[in-house]
């Protein structure tokens, strides 16, 4: 249902605009309805850029994104986005955050509140409806952000390292919760991460990106049966897949790191 065709993105660089950075180079991907696809890649390879292009926040330099054949030309109601961190509004309570998008798109107050309450229950935040985000942990804030996106009932949910700022335990628990929510809502999810375990735990398919300029090195099917619980993670199948992905990713990560060091040096 989601078709990403020949996407490239070039950025002009800050102070002297002569030089450019090729963030994405010829990306192709097709995602089916109800699928859970992860994109992993080294730091700075263009994962967030791809996420923003698919979400219509940034125009690609070349290529096209279509949903069921109709192109995405800007922020699109068929797409919901969950950002890495600091995305909940601290001046609103949990329920006000969740109903924010509904209210702005004209859903009337009572209905928005009802739908927000349902969604809060789905993400496991019952009892915290009227808490302030600042009182909640990072993990709970991400639940709020996920609820705020899901309540809009998008066809496709994009998540850019939604658990990136969380500790390992919270990350595992939220991963399991996300799988449950995914089943209950039949959502289509595109999930950006740099954590291999997380990608294997969650997805049907995993796309591995190269260091900049970002392209897909390989796209791997993940046949490990669901439901995947704690035991699954200690099976050979799980570890083999993690190992396979790591072999591909290792060289790219080294490249990514040295690029980052160069870029930091150039900015000095």
């Amino acid at each position: 249902m989601l078709d990403i065709t020949d996407i490239s993105k070039t950025y002009g660089l800050g102070d002297d605009r002569v030089s450019t950075i090729v963030a994405l180079d010829d990306i192709d991907l097709t995602v089916d309805r109800g699928e859970f696809v992860s994109i992993i890649g080294p730091t700075g390879c263009g994962k967030s850029t791809l996420f923003e292009v698919i979400g219509g926040l940034v125009d690609p330099t070349a290529g096209e994104v279509t949903i069921e054949g109709s192109p995405v030309t800007g922020p699109d109601e068929r797409i919901g986005m969950v950002f890495q961190d600091h995305s909940t509004f601290p001046w609103l309570s949990v329920v006000e955050n969740v109903e924010f998008g509904l209210r702005r798109s004209g859903v009337e107050k009572g209905e928005a509140r009802d739908r927000a309450m349902e969604m809060i229950e789905l993400v496991g935040l019952s009892g915290f409806e009227h808490a302030d985000p600042t009182e909640l942990s990072g993990g709970m804030n991400q639940r709020v952000a996920i609820a705020r996106t899901l309540v809009m009932e998008p066809d496709i949910v994009l998540m850019d390292e939604p658990f990136g700022a969380l500790d390992e335990q919270t990350r595992l628990i939220l991963g399991e919760e996300l799988l449950r929510i995914w089943r209950e809502t039949n959502a289509t999810i595109l999930f950006v991460t740099h954590n291999i375990n997380e990608a294997v735990q969650l997805s049907d398919r995993i796309a591995v990106m190269s260091a900049r300029p970002g392209t897909f090195k390989t796209i791997v099917d993940n046949d490990i049966p669901r439901p995947r619980d704690d035991d699954t993670m200690s099976t050979d199948a799980f570890n083999d897949l993690v190992q396979r992905l790591w072999t591909v990713l290792k060289d790219e990560s080294k490249k990514g790191l040295s690029q980052k060091a160069q870029q930091a040096g150039a900015e000095q």
Binding site: E52, G55, G56, L57, P75, D76, E77, I79, G80, M81, F83, Q84, D85, H86, S87, F89, W91, L92, F100, G101, R104, S105, R148, M152
Partner: protein, 263 residues
């Protein structure tokens, strides 16, 4: 916390007590000073209070207040509107922000009173010149603090707004305004204080009405009781407004320390 251990600390009660004590101490010093110099130079608190009541009874205080408050309200409203507008526009555009930030901050280095005669040239002797002068004092802190508050808006919040397809106005109303509110309130308070200063100074220099004008009349006539009565009224106005803003800042969690930056 360990840095605190080197300092003296008392209970909140003591602080409250101290705060109440300050005006009493000022009053006592005032009384002592008034008794030790001639009544000419400094009226006693009691005489001042009498003049204050007399001022309201006979009406000169009310007339002056009306005039000064009218100028203040108009000048302050204009300072708010223009200051926020400029601050938001400059805050939204990185390039113009970088261009104008040092220039706007640089205007703080210029003693604005010096330029008052120019306002008289342009606006003549009436209310307009005081309003323009008060506005000129107040608009800068409002603009500057709005501008720097704009820089604290989280990019992610704007991305969320875009991905939820908010209109420009919705983004302004529901994301920009709540984000900048804590900083904005500080700007509004500083803007008020400077507008007030500008109005009173303007009235003192060149006016035929208003509390500042009356004040200068009494200074020239060395009538210290009504003179001090006016000062008391001015200080009370400033106190009420500042206490209100203070409460609002606490409520919004504005960083109190920013306030010292520009008084």
């Amino acid at each position: 916390m360990s840095t605190r251990s080197t300092r003296f600390r008392f209970d909140g009660d003591v602080v409250l007590l101290g705060r109440v004590a300050v005006p009493l101490v000022v009053l006592a010093l005032w009384q002592v000073l008034a008794m030790s110099v001639s009544g000419f130079a400094l009226a006693t608190p009691a005489a001042t209070f009498e003049a204050l009541v007399g001022g309201f009874r006979s009406g000169w205080m009310i007339d002056g207040l009306q005039r000064t408050m009218t100028e203040l309200v108009v000048a302050y409203a204009l300072a708010i509107v223009v200051g926020i507008w400029v601050g938001v526009v400059l805050g939204l555009n990185d390039f113009w922000h970088d261009v104008f930030e040092p220039i706007v901050l640089g205007t703080y280095a210029i003693p604005k009173v010096t330029l008052f005669p120019i306002f008289l040239f342009v606006f003549q002797f009436g209310m307009d010149s005081k309003i323009a002068f008060g506005w000129f004092h107040g608009v800068f802190p409002v603009a500057i603090l709005t501008m720097s508050a704009m820089a604290t808006i989280e990019d992610t919040h704007l991305d969320v707004a875009r991905s939820l397809r908010l209109s420009r106005w919705q983004t302004f109303r529901h994301v920009v305004v709540p984000s900048i509110l804590p900083g904005l309130v500080i700007g509004l308070r500083l803007g008020f204080n400077l507008t007030f200063l500008g109005i009173v100074l303007g009235e003192m220099f060149a006016s035929r009405a208003g509390l500042g004008y009356t004040l200068v009349e009494y200074i020239a006539g060395v009538q210290t009781a009504p003179m001090l009565a006016i000062i008391v009224v001015l200080v009370l106005i400033a106190t009420v407004v500042n206490v209100g803003f203070f409460a609002l800042e606490n409520h919004l969690g504005s960083r109190g320390s920013d306030t010292a930056q520009m008084a």
